[in-house]
Symmetry: C2
Amino acid sequence: MQIRDALSRAGDEVELFGWVYRIRSGKEKVFLVLRDATGILQCVIGSEQAGFKDAAGLSIESSVRVNGRLRVDERAPGKVELRVSGLEIIHKAERFPITKNQSAEFLLDVRHLWLRSRKLTNVMRIKAELLKLTREWFEKNGFTEVTPPILTGSNCEGGADAFPLKYFGKKAFLSQSAQLYLEALIFSLERVYSLTPSFRAEKSRTRRHLTEYMHLEAEAANCDIECNLKIQEELIAHVVNGIAVNCETELLELGRNPNKIRVKLPLQRLSYESALELLEKKGHPVEWGSDIGSRDEEIIMEEFDQPIFVTRYPRGAKAFYMKCVDGKHAECADMLAPEGYGEIIGGSEREDSITKLLERMKEEKLNEKDYEWYLDLRRYGSVPHSGFGLGIERVVRWLCKLDHIRDTTPFPRLPNRVTP
Amino acid sequence: MQIRDALSRAGDEVELFGWVYRIRSGKEKVFLVLRDATGILQCVIGSEQAGFKDAAGLSIESSVRVNGRLRVDERAPGKVELRVSGLEIIHKAERFPITKNQSAEFLLDVRHLWLRSRKLTNVMRIKAELLKLTREWFEKNGFTEVTPPILTGSNCEGGADAFPLKYFGKKAFLSQSAQLYLEALIFSLERVYSLTPSFRAEKSRTRRHLTEYMHLEAEAANCDIECNLKIQEELIAHVVNGIAVNCETELLELGRNPNKIRVKLPLQRLSYESALELLEKKGHPVEWGSDIGSRDEEIIMEEFDQPIFVTRYPRGAKAFYMKCVDGKHAECADMLAPEGYGEIIGGSEREDSITKLLERMKEEKLNEKDYEWYLDLRRYGSVPHSGFGLGIERVVRWLCKLDHIRDTTPFPRLPNRVTP
C-alpha cells in the first residue's frame, strides 16, 4: 500500500514501504516519519516491540518496510499514524550529506540526492502532469506527435548559440528548434507537435535559461495567426487550469495558491507599440525596432495577473521565416506569463511565399544554400501555416513560483554545470 | 472537412482542402485525386465548370481547395467521388522531383518531400499511436514521466560509442541511456519512465541501427526481475494489441496483417543456454560467455511468431550494474521481436549492494570516481529495483514490417547522413 492511501484507512492493518524522513527516539517510543512517492506518514514503535532497538538505530533515508495498525492521531502529519508491530530494515543509510541551510551550489552537487526533497518531488510531479495535459490537448485537437531530429547538419536558427559537434567527420549541431522539420511534416500530417530537448549554448547566467530544456513545438497547415493564437490560448488554459485541479496538493505544499494560476480566456493582447508605451510609462524606454528583452518582459508582466500576448513585433527583431505584414511588422506573438515571469511561448504565421522568404533571407544575410530543403516546402503546394514553441520549464517555473529555473528539471544543465 | 469524414458523406455538399496526389486530364473531364492527412479522394471537374481549365493545368502536389457534391462511385478509391463545382488553387507546385523507382539515397536526399508518401505517412501515424499507447500504459500503472538530461558530463555507459562535444570548455557527451538518472529518481518517485532521444556513435551500417533514436526507459523501486518482466510483457501487449486495432487502416495500407502482430501473454522465456542450444541446432554456434549478436537474434527469432525473452546472460556479456546471481549470470532479459526482427527491449534487475557493485566495476575496469554519484544511490536507503530500455524505432520497424529502420523516423540519422 502507498502512504496516500493509508492516510484514509485508519483502523486498518497495513504493510508499507518507505524511506526515513525524520526520526525521534525516546526511552518509550521511536517516532519514524516515513516518506514514499505519495506522501509522509508517522510511525510509532513502542519499547515493547521487537523492532524497537533497530528502529532507534535507524538513520535518515534508510529504507524500511513496516506493518501495523493505522489510527487517527491529530498531532501526526496527515492526522493518521501507524502503530508499528513489525519492522524490516531494507538498507540502513550512511549519514545523509544534506542537512538544513546548505548552499545552492552544494545542493546542485548532490542533485541526485536533493531530488528526494519534498520540494523537488512536488515540482517533478507537476511537470509530469503538465506534459500529460499538453499531449491530451493536442490529441483531442487533431495533432499528430512527431519525432524531429536533435542532430542537424546545418545550424538553421543561425548564430553562435548552437552546440557544434563532430559527426563521423562532418560538422553537426544540436537542435535549437524543431520548427523547420515540423513545417516539412505538415505537408503530410497537417497538424503536428513535438516535445524534444532543445539546446542553447548561451553563456548568460539568468534565472530563466537552461542550456538544455524541453521544447514543445506545434505547427498547423491552413492556420493563420488568429488560428495560431487560439490554439495557444486553449492549450495554455487546458494545461494550467488542469494543473490547478489535478495538482492542488503539490501546489499548496509548494506554497502556491492554485486559484492564483487559473487562466480565463480570451487572453489580453498588447501590440508591440502598446508594450513600448507601457515600458516608457514605467521608466524603461525601449527603442522602436528592438526586441523586447527578458528584463522588459518582466516589467510588463508586473501589470498583469494572467498571461498576455504581445503581438506584431518589428520584422527586423524576429526570425526570417515569419510572415511579414504592412512591410514593417511580423505576424507574430509572444505569450508572457504573469507575476514577472516573462516569455513562455513564441509563435508566428510563417512566410509561405518563396519570393518573400528569399527577400527576407537576403536581408538577414542567410546562406540560401543552407536552406534549400526548407525552400522546397514553398515550391510544392505551399500553404498558409503557423506554429509556436513553448518552453516547458518556463511554464513549470511560473506555475510553481520558483525563483530559479534550475529547479524545474531533475538534472539542470547550466553554463557552469553538466554533472551529475 | 477532412477526407476521411467525406468518404462517409455521399450526397452532401462539402468544401475540402488537399494536395494533388494524381491527375488525369481528358477533353471532357479532369480527374484529380487529392490527399490530406486523413486519406485520398477522387474529384472530378467537368468541362462545363469554370475551374476546368485551371484544373487541367494543375501539377502534382499543388495545394487546392475544392467544393462540390459527394456521390457514390464504385470505381473511385474509397468508392466516393466529389463532383467539383468550385476550385481554388492555393499554390501551383513546381515539377515534383520524386517520380517512380527512385533510389533509396535520392529519397533520403529529398526526405522532406518523400515524407508526403502514403507509406511514410502511415508509418508516422503508427509511431504516434505507439507513443500514445506507451504513455497510457505507464500512467495507468503508477509511473511518473521524468525528463533526464541528454548532455552528460561523464560517459557513463562507457566505450567509444558516445558522441563527445565541448561544453563551455568542459568535455561532455550525448546520452546513450537515461538509466542511471532514472535510478536516482526512483528514490523519490518510485516508478518513473522517460522517452528521450539517445545517441550511438556506431559506424556499423545495419538495417536496425540509427545514430539517434527514441529511447523509452523505465525504472521501478521494489521491483525484482519477475516484476520487471511482467511490466514489459503487459506494456508490449497493450501497445501492440492497441495498434492492431487503432491503426488497422494504416497497417493494411502498409501490407501488414494486423492479426499477425497481436501478442498473447505470457511471453515464452528462453534461457541464454537454451538460446545457445537453438543456435547450435540451426548451425550457428555461439560460445558460452559471448553476447548474442544481432545476426544470432534474427536466427533465433525465425522460430517464433511473437516476442520472447532470452534470460540470464553470462554477467561478463552484460553491463556492470546488473544484479549478479549464482556468481555466473546476470539477472537480465532481452525481449526479441518475431520474424527475425531481433532485440527490442533490454532490461535487468540492478545491483543494489554497493559492495557487489564495486566488485563488478573493478572487474570491468571502470573508474570509480566517474560513478561516485551513482554509488551514492546504494549508500542512502538502497532498494531492490529493476528497469529496462526499449527502442521505439525497432518496435515500429517490426510492427510495420519495414526492411530498414530509417523509415521509422521522419529525418533518420545514419553514419553517412545528418541532413536534411
